[in-house]
């Protein structure tokens, strides 16, 4: 399992290296800061969706590997989100703090993104055994906020779309699919699906 964990760790870093390479080679276009901003934003969303697919995948396959990387992938989601914010501060606002104040007051899409990142921060800080023990039952309730994060991020993205919803619709469809898999009657069918597949396998 440590090998699997290490592989996931490396896989999560690969895109960063890929983007850094493009920037270094001058292949990221005339606005490399925005290139990184958008890639980290979409990267964070993809990681969030992957993280949320682990529970259904575990139910479907019963492979423990999926659940052992859940915390790691959650932390990666936050890290990408944080990198996304840093890109914004450094390359879009050029560290103009007064501009940040105005943006936070006036732009709904920024407010929603900031709220999502704040929740991700709280979830990351409490993603350890000590917090689980301390919070007891409330830990689970707290971590259900990840669904709110998903909704906020999709709203954040939706408000940025200018003229074509194709890409956004793709992400939204995956998100809706993952949420449907969590509705109890649907969720219950997942292990059954696996059993049926196994039975066929033994025929």
């Amino acid at each position: 399992m440590w090998l699997w964990r290490t592989l996931v760790f490396i896989a999560a870093l690969v895109p960063v290296g890929w983007w850094a390479w493009h920037v270094a080679m001058n292949a990221a276009g005339p606005e490399p800061g925005r290139y990184l901003l958008l890639n980290f934003g979409q990267g964070a969303l993809v990681l969030l969706l992957i993280t949320l697919s682990l529970t259904p995948l575990t139910k479907l396959t019963r492979w423990k590997g999926f659940s052992v990387v859940r915390r790691q992938l959650g932390l990666w989601t936050f890290s990408y989100g944080l990198a996304h914010l840093l890109c914004y501060l450094l390359f879009i606002l050029a560290l103009d703090w007064s501009a940040l104040g105005t943006e936070l007051q006036r732009r709904p899409y920024i407010i929603v993104g900031a709220l999502a990142l704040l929740i991700l921060l709280i979830l990351s800080l409490t993603s350890n055994r000590a917090s689980m023990r301390r919070l007891g039952k409330r830990w689970k309730a707290l971590h259900k906020l990840v669904y709110l994060v998903l909704a906020l991020v999709l709203l954040h993205f939706f408000w940025i779309v200018r003229a074509d919803l194709t890409q956004w619709s793709g992400y939204a469809a995956v998100a809706v699919g993952l949420m449907l898999l969590r509705i109890p009657p649907v969720a219950r069918t997942l292990p059954a699906l696996r059993k049926r597949a196994q039975r066929h396998g033994h025929d």
């Binding site: 920037v23 276009g29 005339p30 606005e31 490399p32 800061g33 925005r34 990184l36 450094l90 390359f91 879009i92 606002l93 050029a94 103009d96 501009a99 105005t102 943006e103 006036r106 732009r107 899409y109 408000w159 940025i160 779309v161 200018r162 003229a163 074509d164 919803l165 194709t166 890409q167 956004w168 619709s169």
Partner: protein, 334 residues
């Protein structure tokens, strides 16, 4: 924050075909002492600027013929010109996709020869004209304009083309011609973005100007840039350039110019009326709901130099165009 010294552009308002009256730094650096004098004489052609780094392209014969007699540097800016490769690989042209590099990838399918433009509505000479006939009577000019996108980035582009006023005058506007409406080609086979089921724009893309804006000497119809024919992703074969307005006003691949009495509906205004107005003049004091307009990122930039500069009223063309809006509340008419 980095603030670069702003240009001065010399062009008087009653100058219908502005002559080169201000020398660009390039020519000073070329050490051409006599040019200062030459440039102040109307009709003297300066040697074309150095575009050796620009991807070569063969335009139609009429284009190449007119190119030889271009009035280079007819309007200049002191700002540094954006590299050709950036100006052609970072485009908003939703007919070809919504990512900035989509147009460069997808616009190759567009066939621009032959091309005709319908000029109709409130004009004495309505009709469908071949592009070369529209352009033929005017001399090519090169105009170096700042281009300010509503998304808060900007570039500096050397356009080639003719004043819009020339074309409108030749069409013979009637007394009822109060506005000009422009339309882009609709052809999903050549323009894959128009095929998208999730496109929010209701094709054709439409833009408009008030007649006095359209007749203003800075309003320009471009058929080329960087000393060559327009690349498809930049709006070939004919596009509008209105340098004091946000880039989306400068409609591309025009197939129709209609003179009308009522203020026309425009694509972005239709899509989000609270975000995009009819006027869309560059104005650092009036924010777009999603983007501050106080500053802009001059491209290309780098990670170490975001190149954020202050946005100028009317994109730095206030001296020339502010008169068009005298007495208007620019917050209301954004």
């Amino acid at each position: 924050m980095l603030i670069t010294p702003r240009n001065r552009l010399t062009l008087s308002e009653n100058d219908v075909t502005p002559e080169a009256v201000y020398l660009s730094r390039r020519h000073f650096m070329a050490g051409a002492a006599g040019l200062g004098l030459a440039a102040s004489f109307p009709g003297v052609t300066l040697a074309g600027p150095d575009y050796s780094e620009v991807a070569k392209a063969q335009g139609p014969q009429w284009f190449e013929d007119k190119l030889a007699n271009t009035r280079w540097d007819a309007v200049v800016a002191e700002d540094k010109i954006t590299p050709f490769n950036d100006a052609t690989h970072y485009n908003n042209f939703y007919e070809f996709g919504s990512d900035k590099d989509d147009p460069a990838q997808n616009a190759g399918k567009l066939n621009t020869v032959p091309w005709s433009v319908t000029i109709d509505g409130e004009v004495a000479n309505p009709g469908r004209y071949a592009l070369e006939d529209i352009v033929q009577p005017s001399r090519f000019e090169e105009r170096i304009y700042r281009l300010r996108c509503v998304e808060a980035w900007s570039m500096v582009i050397p356009w080639l083309g003719i004043p819009l006023a020339d074309v409108i005058k030749r069409a013979g506007p009637t007394g009822n011609a109060k506005y000009v409406r422009f339309e882009t080609l609709v052809d999903p086979k050549q323009m894959p973005g128009q095929d998208s089921r999730f496109a929010l724009i209701d094709w054709p893309y439409e833009e408009g100007l008030r007649i006095d804006e359209a007749m203003h000497p800075l309003a320009f119809l471009a058929v080329g840039m960087y000393g060559r024919v327009l690349p498809n992703q930049n709006g070939a074969p004919l596009r509008l350039v209105v340098p004091w307005k946000y880039g989306f006003k400068s409609i591309k691949s025009i197939v129709r110019i209609l003179l009308v009495e009522e203020q026309p509906e425009t694509s972005w205004h239709k899509l989000a009326p609270n975000e995009y107005g009819f006027y869309a003049n560059v104005n650092p004091e009036v924010d777009h709901p999603r983007w501050s307009q106080a500053t802009e990122r001059r491209l290309p930039n780098s990670l170490f130099r975001p190149n954020v500069i202050e946005t100028q009223m009317f994109n730095g063309y206030a001296e020339q165009v502010a008169g068009l809006y005298q007495g208007m509340d620019l917050r209301k008419y954004y």
